[in-house]
Amino acid sequence: MRNIVLINASPKINEPSASAFLVNLVGSYIEEANTNKNFINVRQSTTRHKTQDDFAAISQADAVIIVFPLYVFCLPGLLMRYLEDYHKFYMEHGMASSHPKVYAIVNCGFPEPGINLEAVRVIKSFSHHVKAHFRFGILIGGGGMLLGVKDAPFMKKTFGKLNDAFATIAQDIENDDLKSIEDISIAMNFPRRLYLIMGNRGWPALARKNGLKKRDLYKRPYR
C-alpha cells in the first residue's frame, strides 16, 4: 500500500481557494489502486488541533504534495509554522517511511509563474532538512483568475498543461528511480496586459460592494 499525503496550505477560511481546487485536481491523478490518499488542510489541522495525527501521517508517507499560494514572494506564515512544527516532530520521532518524495505546487496572483521559484526552493530546503527527496515544483502564474474562468474555452490550453503536469507527478510517484525532473512553469493562456487591466478594474468593483468609493482604496490611515 502506497501512502500519499496531499496538503492544501491555503490560509483562506471558508472561501473558495485555488489551492483547494488544485489539490483536488492533482489528487484525481493519483492511482486509486493500492494507494491510501490522505488530504490535509493546514488551516483545519491547526485550528482543530490535529497536527500530531497529521504529522504522523506525513512521516509515514511515500509521497507528499504541498499546494499553496505565494504570499509576499514565499510561503504563507501559516504553512511556514506548519513546516517548522513538522520539523520539530521529525527531530523527535524521525520519519517512519524512508525518504518520501516531495512535490510543490505554488500559484501566485502575478501573471509570471517564475515569481514562485523561491517558494519552491524553500520546499526543497525543507525536504533536505527532513531527509526527504524533493522532486520538482509546478509554478503557476495568474492563479487569481483560475477559479473564475476555469470553464472558459480559452482556458483549455492552460488546463491541458496543468493536467500534463499533474500526470507527471502521478507517474513520478509510481517510478522507483529518482531521475531528475525540471520544475514546470504554467502561465494562464491570457494576454498579460489584459490580465493586469482586468485585475485593476476588479478592485473598485469589489470595494463598491463594501460601500466604498474608488478613492477610498487609496486611504492612508497611518499618516
Partner: protein
C-alpha cells in the same frame, strides 16, 4: 529620526542576543529613536487572504491584534530592521506572519516595473528603508543564498544581510546604508 526593530520572540539564541546588541548600538550611535517589537507564536493571527485590508478597510488589516500597531510603527519609521532566523532558507514563521500582514501598506493594483516584472505599488509616497538581517548557526550556502534571493530578486529598496557571528561585517555593511525614508517601487 525613528527606527523600528521587528524580531522573533521565540528564537532568542546567543547569536540573536549578540546581533540584537549590535543593531541597537548601531541605531543609537546613528541617533535614531528605536522602538522594538518582538513577535511570538501567539501574538499574531495568520493572514487569511481575505483582502479586507484593500477592499473593506483600505490600509488596515481587518484582524484585531497587535499588527495594527506594527504597521503604524512601520510606516512612521525612517528605518525598519527585521531580525529573522533563517529557516529552510526563508523567514521564520513569526516574522513571515508579520510580513504577510504588512500588505495593507500596498495598494491592490498591479504595476509593471522597469525590468518588466509585476508588483503592487506602495500605498504611501515614501516608506522606511527596510533592512532584513537573517541569522543562524551553521547555515548552508544554499539556505543563505535563498534567503537573499527571496527579497533581492523581488523587492527594491530593501537590504538583506546575513549574520553568523561576524560582528564587524554587519556593522560595516549597516554603516554604508543610508538611514532615511525612501520612495519609488517596493
Amino acid at each position: 529620526m525613528k527606527a523600528a526593530i521587528i524580531a522573533d520572540k521565540d528564537c532568542q539564541t546567543d547569536l540573536f542576543q549578540q546581533l540584537h546588541k549590535l543593531v541597537v548600538m548601531f541605531l543609537n550611535n546613528a541617533g535614531l529613536v528605536t522602538e522594538e517589537i518582538f513577535i511570538g507564536r501567539d501574538d499574531l493571527a495568520f493572514c487569511k487572504g481575505c483582502f479586507g485590508c484593500w477592499i473593506k478597510k483600505p490600509g488596515e488589516c481587518v484582524i484585531n491584534d497587535m499588527m495594527a500597531q506594527v504597521n503604524r510603527n512601520f510606516i512612521n519609521s525612517d528605518v525598519v530592521i527585521y531580525l529573522s532566523p533563517v529557516v529552510f532558507g526563508q523567514f521564520s514563521a513569526n516574522i513571515k506572519n508579520a510580513l504577510d500582514r504588512w500588505i495593507p501598506n500596498m495598494l491592490p493594483f498591479f504595476e509593471t516595473r522597469p525590468d518588466g516584472s509585476t508588483m503592487h505599488p506602495s500605498r504611501y509616497d515614501t516608506h522606511p528603508q527596510s533592512i532584513i538581517i537573517g541569522y543562524g548557526d551553521g547555515l548552508s550556502e544554499d539556505d543563505v543564498q535563498l534567503f537573499i534571493d527571496i527579497t533581492k530578486k523581488h523587492r527594491t529598496n530593501t537590504e538583506v544581510l546575513i549574520y553568523q557571528g561576524a560582528d564587524q561585517d554587519i556593522t560595516e555593511t549597516l554603516g554604508k546604508i543610508e538611514l532615511r525614508m525612501v520612495g519609488g517601487y517596493l
